[in-house]
């Protein structure tokens, strides 16, 4: 780690001029996004500074309780985000509960798997490993689940006649929803597949480049990245299957009826 170069606040201030230039462009071209742009930049700075403080505290504590609470907070924020990305939400508690529950199940499971088998820090819940790993898995899992649930609800609405046609002929709810279920799962997993196939050619993943910048030999950084990619694929897969099947379960009922009335009314834009 000899080649690690620390940044001064002056370095950051200099780079922030780029954002101010963006804002200037927005003013010149009348894009009316300079306000949003500046707010987003400030939010980013404040949020990251805070998380830096929080992580420093967590890393020095190495407490299972506090690490657990941080993990929980991350999952709850991700659940909120999944809910916000739905064109048509499930009604009631399901809209938050389903995505959040599935993300918690799969990301915690996969993170624990990596910590107990591949990385094996001591103690195994050491936040310096647990938190970044969970964050990467959770972020991808969130995208997958949000896409999967959104595809499920929109295609059930669009293809209602075809799903009900099968129900009318005596199909079970699972059989009738199978084509739509497949589409939803495909769209949930597509970003993961695409990113795996483009990685290294088109994009250099942030985690790997971060390690390289901090002086880790590229071959070692690449090994970490490959591990993380597998974990992401696994976490997204489990989470998406659970969420989409949960969605099918909620949008049908025990009498094998399609229950689109369990979608909340579309949100006013």
């Amino acid at each position: 780690m000899a080649s690690y170069i620390a940044l001064s606040y002056l370095d950051l201030a200099l780079a922030s001029v780029l954002v101010l230039i963006d804002a200037g462009l927005s003013l010149i071209f009348g894009l009316k996004i300079h306000r949003n742009l500046l707010i987003a930049a400030i939010r980013m700075t404040v949020q990251l500074t805070l998380i830096g403080v929080v992580l420093t505290a967590l890393f020095s504590l190495v407490s299972p309780l506090w690490t657990g609470l941080a993990v929980l907070a991350m999952i709850l924020f991700a659940g909120q985000e999944v809910m916000q990305r739905q064109d048509r939400r499930l009604s009631g508690w399901w809209s938050f509960g389903l995505g959040t529950g599935c993300m918690m199940m799969s990301s915690v499971l996969v993170t624990a798997f990596a910590l107990l088998t591949a990385i094996r820090p001591s103690p195994w819940y050491d936040p310096r490993y647990a938190i970044p790993l969970l964050g990467m898995i959770l972020g991808n899992c969130m995208t997958g689940i949000a896409l999967g649930l959104n595809t499920l609800s929109t295609s059930l609405m669009l293809r209602r006649a075809s799903v009900e046609a099968q129900l009318m002929l005596g199909a079970t709810r699972w059989d009738a929803a199978a084509p739509v279920t497949r589409d939803a799962l495909r769209s949930a997993l597509m970003p993961t597949i695409n990113s795996m196939s483009a990685t290294g050619l088109v994009s250099l993943p942030g985690m790997m480049t971060g390690q390289i910048l901090s002086g880790v030999p590229p071959v070692e950084a690449v090994k970490y990245q490959i591990l993380v990619m597998f974990l992401i694929a696994g976490g997204t897969g489990f989470g998406a299957v659970a969420a989409v099947l949960g969605g099918v379960y909620r949008l049908t009922d025990a009498r094998h009826r399609l229950r689109l009335d369990r979608l909340a009314a579309p949100q006013a834009v």
Binding site: R159, S162, A165, M168, R257
Partner: protein, 251 residues
């Protein structure tokens, strides 16, 4: 072409068989009866018994249907005819008592119920590319399809290229070959030419003689008279049997 009811429910046609709201039998109701016994139309003689079937929009509807009997269902668009059929097929949440051959619907799993009580919607849905993929048993279907003018090659026809009329007839066959005991038809001939209408009516009449019971939604008064001896009128969510003017002619 008339479809004969094998058994007239509860004795004769002037007995109330269909009502909304409270079930009262006209023949037995006296002005001051403190406790109404179970409505007599729920005897075990009819194939399908419906009592106080209701949804959020549909007001309580009661009627019964005998084996081999056909009831025409009429009413303006948006009155709730489709909702009535969907409620009987248990495709929408609904309350009330529905029995088939004396068996309570709630005791029969949904998929099995819909194989016994088939429903053909006005705009049937398709879930695969070609015609053949929509039939569980193509060999059983070909015989019936031939009667409706479809050749053997129809199996590989793409659904996207079919006319509305072809789709309606295919959907009818798709439901028939499952051999339901009751068939709920939602304007099955709305977009057909005169010759096809006659073939479809003929096909259903044959099945009626074999014991199938049918609820047939139609806007065509002539057709209603040809196919059925009883008629339900649906208006603003309320279902009532038309009595007196019906049957118009004896077969």
């Amino acid at each position: 072409m008339a479809c004969y009811s094998l058994r007239v429910v509860a004795g004769d046609l002037n007995t109330i068989v269909v009502q909304t709201g409270k079930s009262v039998n006209r023949q037995t109701a006296r002005p001051e009866v403190p406790k109404e016994p179970e409505p007599p139309f729920l005897s075990d003689t009819s194939l399908l018994q419906v009592r106080d079937l209701q949804t959020k929009i549909l007001q309580p509807a009661s009627f019964s249907l005998a084996a081999g009997e056909c009831i025409a269902v009429k009413g303006p668009s948006g009155a709730g005819k489709t909702l009535l059929l969907r409620a009987i097929a248990d495709l929408d949440p609904n309350q009330g008592l529905v029995r088939l051959e004396g068996r309570d619907r709630s005791a029969i799993p949904g998929p099995e119920w819909r194989r016994l009580v088939g429903y053909v919607p006005a705009e049937p849905g398709w879930w695969a590319e070609t015609v053949g993929e929509h039939f569980r048993d193509w060999t059983a279907a070909t015989a019936v399809l031939a009667k409706l003018g479809f050749p053997e090659e129809a199996k590989s026809w793409p659904i996207a290229r079919l006319s509305t009329g072809e789709r309606l007839r295919l959907a009818l066959v798709r439901a028939l070959i499952i051999r339901p005991k009751v068939l709920l038809l939602d304007e099955p001939t709305a977009t057909l030419d005169a010759a096809s209408v006659a073939t479809v009516e003929d096909l259903i009449a044959t099945r009626l003689r074999a014991g199938l019971a049918v609820l047939w939604v139609t806007h065509d008064a002539g057709q209603a008279r040809r196919i059925a001896r009883r008629q339900l009128a649906v208006e603003a969510g309320s279902v009532q049997e038309e009595i007196g003017r019906w049957p118009v002619t004896s077969p």
